[in-house]
Symmetry: C2
Subunit: 207 residues, 2 copies
């Protein structure tokens, strides 16, 4: 009906340093929009309450390695002997069906996704300030002050990844940050992604 | 305060075929946002109710021609013996002060603006369909059916300008179209427009 209506979904990659709040933003987006989360695949055992195909796709190490060989991942990594990855096909299927997909991932993972799917929209979630980030990490109460300072040093270094991203959103006020990501999704669907010939023929068909 | 806060305004160019409703969208944006309209300069005489510096900058033909020689316009055109143009300096001044500027202009004008200010954000406003456009033009009651059909033929040709634009917005429902342009403005201010070094030094300063 609408001559420039979206024909395919887009992949939005939410990434950024730990503590910036990408997970919280992602949850809010899933609750408030039609965006669907990309489900990861892992070789670790399911924990209580985790469901196959929702929490993760749980597979054997052999299956995971076969999928690596078949270039079946947008990205994957080994963590403490377990593999974790983003299988490519479910994402492609959703995008083809016109569904937007969101992928929440650390910066190393995002870089690999960019290699395998450069058409993704890469959004860097930033903390409002280093002092605010220090406050958030301290508030968790899971790390010593020394560990937190080391981690803040790491975060500063990690900011150098920004060059690889299309957008950045500062997560000071959660609602404002979520609204900003929503605006990015809307704007990305307003991009000119067709040729003049395609556009003219769509209007002609209807005229 | 916000380490990635916008430091400069952006120029948004609203353009598209006649009857698509770019003027109506522009008015709504001016009423609902902080966007400021670029004021045109003209050599024609002021009409009743028009104010210098708001409706237009009214100048003599000599002054206009001097400004052309001094590359003082983002675009200009001669229409029935009168000159009309977008003076560059007031736009640059507003942008430098951090104000977003909106420019509503036909496609020929937009192309010239693009030559002189490629950093502008170019938004093409489209009618929802040729039949809807026919209805709108007929509703104005100012043209014969024959003239309208000729004009619709022109519009189809004008769609070929789409290649030069960053975004396109279909103006079916006005409120939806306005919301979409607002989302584009927000998203454009979320673009990564700085280097990693700049970002890191801003966070370090504060840390």
């Amino acid at each position: 009906m609408n001559p420039v209506e979206k024909h395919a979904g887009k992949l939005f990659i939410l990434s950024g340093p730990s503590g910036a709040g990408k997970g919280t933003i992602c949850k809010a987006l899933l609750a408030e929009t039609d965006l669907e989360l990309s489900v990861s695949m892992t070789t670790r055992n399911p924990r209580a309450g985790e469901t196959e195909g929702e929490s993760y796709y749980f597979v054997s190490k052999e299956e995971f390695l076969r999928k690596i060989d078949a270039s079946g991942f947008l990205e994957y990594a080994e963590v403490y002997g377990n593999f974790y990855g983003t299988p490519k096909q479910p994402v492609i299927d959703k995008l083809s069906a016109g569904t937007d997909v969101i992928l929440e991932i650390d910066m190393q993972g995002a870089l690999k996704v960019k290699e395998n799917y450069p058409d993704g929209v890469f959004i860097f979630i930033l903390p409002p300030s280093m002092s605010e980030l220090r406050k958030r990490l301290t508030g968790r109460g899971t790390e010593t002050a020394e560990a937190i300072e080391m981690r803040l040093g790491e975060t500063l270094k990690e900011l150098s990844y920004i060059d690889k991203y299309d957008y950045c959103v500062v997560n000071g006020q959660l609602e404002e940050a979520v609204a900003r990501v929503k605006a990015i999704v809307t704007a990305e669907h307003s991009r000119v992604t067709f040729t003049a010939e395609e556009l003219i023929s769509r209007y002609k068909e209807e005229a």
